[in-house]
């Protein structure tokens, strides 16, 4: 641990994340401005459809594309970072901890940004469509939840990337088919439901009831994020540079 050189690795990752963020939000802002101009010049009222084209999403929900962007960064970043870092005398453990810290810092910054954006309608409601007012007292919980979501998303992307990185061609095919089966056909759901019958439904209902509580949901998101991070640690320990 005391032989790690975390500072240059983290600096590298954060600088690249900053660059990616500037590019990403630059495009997003252009899209928002474009949609606003369209609404203005076309004389369209927000929430009205013209010839079947619904323009009620004129404010553009930035949260979901950002989560997708972070997920892609999680997938693509780790593969390039392993190579770049090993090329420059940075080992796997540093790569892991730097990625972990990088995802947390990104989560904190993005989370804060989105929690603040959520508060804007409170003070400038005329500009926003949704009109719903976010309670200010929920700010910190909203921030924590956002941190958890971004952290988990990054770690999930890294898990998927590392699984494919570590597997050989045959392993990749088997994993893809198995994962596809699970996602598309809900295999575990069917199996568990078959085995546990009513108990499973009751369990799922209890879980969803528990997750309605924002504190529980935040805790849950962090928990699965930490699980993903632990899995990443195991995957990165024996990762080799691939040509």
């Amino acid at each position: 641990m005391n032989n790690m050189r975390l500072k240059p690795a983290l600096r590298y990752q954060l600088e690249y994340m900053l660059e990616a963020s500037v590019d990403f939000f630059g495009v997003i802002i252009l899209i928002i401005i474009g949609l606003r101009l369209l609404a203005f010049f076309a004389g369209v009222n927000v929430g009205v459809s013209i010839d079947g084209v619904i323009l009620n999403n004129i404010n553009f929900n930035v949260g979901v594309p950002t989560v997708i962007m972070v997920f892609i960064v999680g997938i693509a970043g780790i593969r390039e970072d392993i190579k770049m870092f090993l090329q420059h005398g940075i080992g796997r453990y540093t790569t892991y901890f730097s990625t972990l810290l990088g995802s947390l810092i990104t989560g904190v910054v993005y989370g804060l940004m989105f929690s603040l954006i959520d508060l804007i309608p409170n003070y400038w409601p005329a500009f926003f469509v949704r009109g719903s007012v976010v309670p200010v007292e929920g700010f910190f919980m909203s921030w924590f939840l956002n941190i958890g979501i971004f952290f988990f998303t990054w770690q999930l992307g890294t898990v998927i990337s590392l699984i494919y990185y570590r597997l050989n061609r045959m392993g990749q095919i088997i994993f893809s088919v198995a994962a596809g089966g699970i996602i598309l056909f809900g295999v575990p759901n069917i199996v568990v439901r078959h085995v546990l019958r009513d108990g499973f439904d009751a369990f799922m209902e209890a879980v969803s009831n528990a997750l309605v509580n924002p504190a529980n949901l935040t805790l849950f998101v962090f928990l699965i994020g930490v699980l993903a991070a632990a899995f990443n640690f195991m995957l990165i320990r024996r990762a080799e540079v691939k040509e």
Partner: protein, 290 residues
């Protein structure tokens, strides 16, 4: 400072890339890691720098394990045959990052070298030609200022002029700031005057590990009419032999005989490194570490 490699092995599927290799890279020497394509040279260097993991064995730098030890790994810079940079990275950015990762990296020297070689710094690394990619890697390696410099096929794709420039710069760098340099190459004739110590690798095993001078003094070559050569080499320790028309050349272990004692028609000479290497590769049996 010494890199100590003990009993390392590495297998890729059915291929035994390295087989129980033990060797040491001492301080401030120029080593030649010589071997045919696929002998295991790159694998060995990639293991030293942690890019590959070993199946067995121990690697240390001054007694400290090398595996994932940033402080130890930071003492080594490896110029790889392959590219390990992000697709979008430009030459100038790679130079800047090298100076972040290596505290003693000489950024000014790197930029000076880019001008000297005519390397376009604003270009993305993947868009460089093979020769310019090699130049880019050479620039970073020569500016890294690490105690250990591992060069894996450093002159790949370079024209004769640039190759010559590289060897001169390498000698300059070594004389100004001596460090341990390991050159892995199959262009043996080009590095012959440069390397002090030879490590010859064949089928994943080190078959020779000795100062070049010692290796070349251990044997000699003798040539002449085939019948005379056959008579002469009977009972001697033959490294290898080859025929060309009616003439035969044999490489033998042992001290070079006095020319006056040789049968008429035979000529003895000192082997050069390339000749020695070629003969050694022809030799069927592996004699183990020296």
């Amino acid at each position: 400072m010494t890199i100590d490699i003990q009993n390392i092995s590495k297998r890729f599927g059915q291929t035994q890339a390295l087989d129980n290799i033990s060797l040491k890279f001492g301080q401030k020497k120029i080593y030649g890691l010589l071997g045919n394509n696929g002998a295991g040279k790159s694998t060995l260097l990639n293991i030293i720098t942690g890019r590959y993991l070993t199946d067995d064995g121990i690697l240390t730098l001054d007694g400290e394990p090398l595996k994932d030890n940033d402080k130890a790994l930071n003492q080594i810079y490896m110029l790889s045959e392959k590219d390990y940079y992000p697709e979008t990275m430009k030459v100038k950015d790679a130079i800047r990052w090298a100076s972040v990762f290596y505290p003693d990296f000489d950024e000014k020297l790197a930029l000076k070298l880019t001008e000297k070689f005519g390397l376009p710094v604003k270009k993305k690394i993947p868009s460089l030609s093979t020769g310019y990619k090699s130049i880019f890697k050479i620039v970073i390696a020569l500016s890294a200022n690490t105690p250990f410099l591992l060069l894996d096929e450093p002159v790949l794709g370079l024209d004769a002029g640039h190759r010559d420039m590289f060897y001169k710069l390498l000698i300059e760098r070594y004389s100004e700031n001596p460090c341990t340099i390991v050159i892995s190459t199959h262009l043996i004739a080009e590095v012959e005057g440069l390397v002090e110590h030879c490590m010859i690798i064949k089928d994943g095993r080190i078959i020779k590990d000795a100062p070049c001078e010692d290796l070349l003094n251990r044997g000699y070559s003798i040539s002449g009419p085939a019948a005379l050569i056959d008579d002469y080499i009977k009972g001697k320790d033959i490294i290898s032999s080859s025929n060309l028309g009616g003439l035969k050349t044999a490489c033998l272990n042992g001290a070079m005989p006095n020319p006056e004692n040789l049968p008429v028609g035979l000529e003895a000479g000192k082997m050069n490194l390339q000749e020695y290497f070629i003969q050694l590769m022809k030799e069927g049996e592996v004699k183990g570490n020296e």
